[in-house]
């Protein structure tokens, strides 16, 4: 059963029960790749730290960064800040070569929260959810689809899903949360 359309209108998907699902508002997303020597310069331009351990996060106001690989970060910001971040990075490009690619339209984000949120993720995620610290995150897989998982609280997660896979994953989470509710 499809609970969403490709319009991805933000709002609740499952509003009550042991796990609540909410489709979040669009944000600006950037994929950032650079060499270690250029981290301080680009971090200063973005106004957010760039952690160097895979899975660690940093935030400054509404701008967030997560380290996804040894030379790869995902930057999340308010949609209004898109131009500011792009031009700030362009200004330091000559001294700190990097690749900043806007991927805002590539993904949508679902909030998964409630008493059994971590348990719901085990429906398709092989990683030990308990090993993800609060305030950390990771890129992992759920039912064959690569996603970025952000753990904001013990039982509150954000999941960034590529749009073309999102209906499938959201349907899966929807079914799982309905099964919890029916227990």
């Amino acid at each position: 059963m499809t609970v969403l359309t490709h319009a991805f209108t933000p709002g609740p998907i499952v509003a009550s029960g042991p796990v609540k699902l909410t489709l979040l508002e669009p944000v600006a997303r950037f994929s950032l790749r650079l060499r270690a020597a250029n981290i301080p310069t680009v971090a200063k331009a973005l106004g957010v730290d760039l952690p160097t351990t895979v899975g660690e996060r940093a935030a400054n106001g509404t701008t967030e960064a997560i380290c996804l690989g040894p030379d790869e970060w995902m930057i999340i910001a308010k949609t209004d800040d898109t131009d500011k971040l792009v031009s700030a990075c362009a200004d330091v490009y000559a001294s700190a070569t990097h690749s900043l690619t806007e991927v805002s339209a590539r993904e949508i984000t679902v909030r998964i929260e409630g008493d059994r949120a971590a348990e719901l993720l085990t429906i398709g995620c092989p990683r030990d959810i308990d090993s993800i610290p609060v305030g950390g995150g990771c890129r992992t897989v759920i039912d064959g689809v690569t996603v970025v998982l952000w753990r904001d609280a013990d039982q509150s997660f954000r999941m960034d899903i590529w749009r073309s896979f999102a209906l499938h994953i959201i349907d899966l989470l929807y079914t799982g949360s309905k099964e919890f509710a029916a227990e």
Binding site: P70, P126, T140, V141, T146
Partner: protein, 100 residues
């Protein structure tokens, strides 16, 4: 499910996040036009297909995305070590001693 240590993430993670990527330490000839057809065939297709400890490449596909090398026993499926792609090839005798 196998648990594989990613040397870049420095975490031991489920096999489902990884993909296998063939035998490791196979260098492309520096000057392909100077090698014979047989040597080129060997480079492209001929693999050791060992029974026992096997040097192989894996990719942390649903994670950091990096390729790395591993030594896995093809009989027991046990990983003896995983290491970064630019690390030297570990001596098998030392690995076997350590795993005892």
């Amino acid at each position: 499910m196998l648990l594989i240590h990613c040397p870049y993430c420095n975490q031991t993670l489920p096999e489902a996040e990884f993909t296998y990527a063939g035998e490791a330490h196979i260098a492309r000839p520096a000057d392909p036009s100077s090698v014979s057809d047989e040597e080129w065939r060997d480079f492209l297709f001929i693999r050791t297909n060992v029974k026992g400890p096997h040097y192989e490449r894996w990719r942390h596909f649903h994670g950091c995305g990096r390729y790395f090398n591993a030594v896995r026993d093809t009989v027991s499926d046990r990983f003896l070590i995983t290491y970064k792609t630019d690390d030297p090839r570990p001596e098998l005798s030392k690995l076997l001693e350590k795993s005892k």
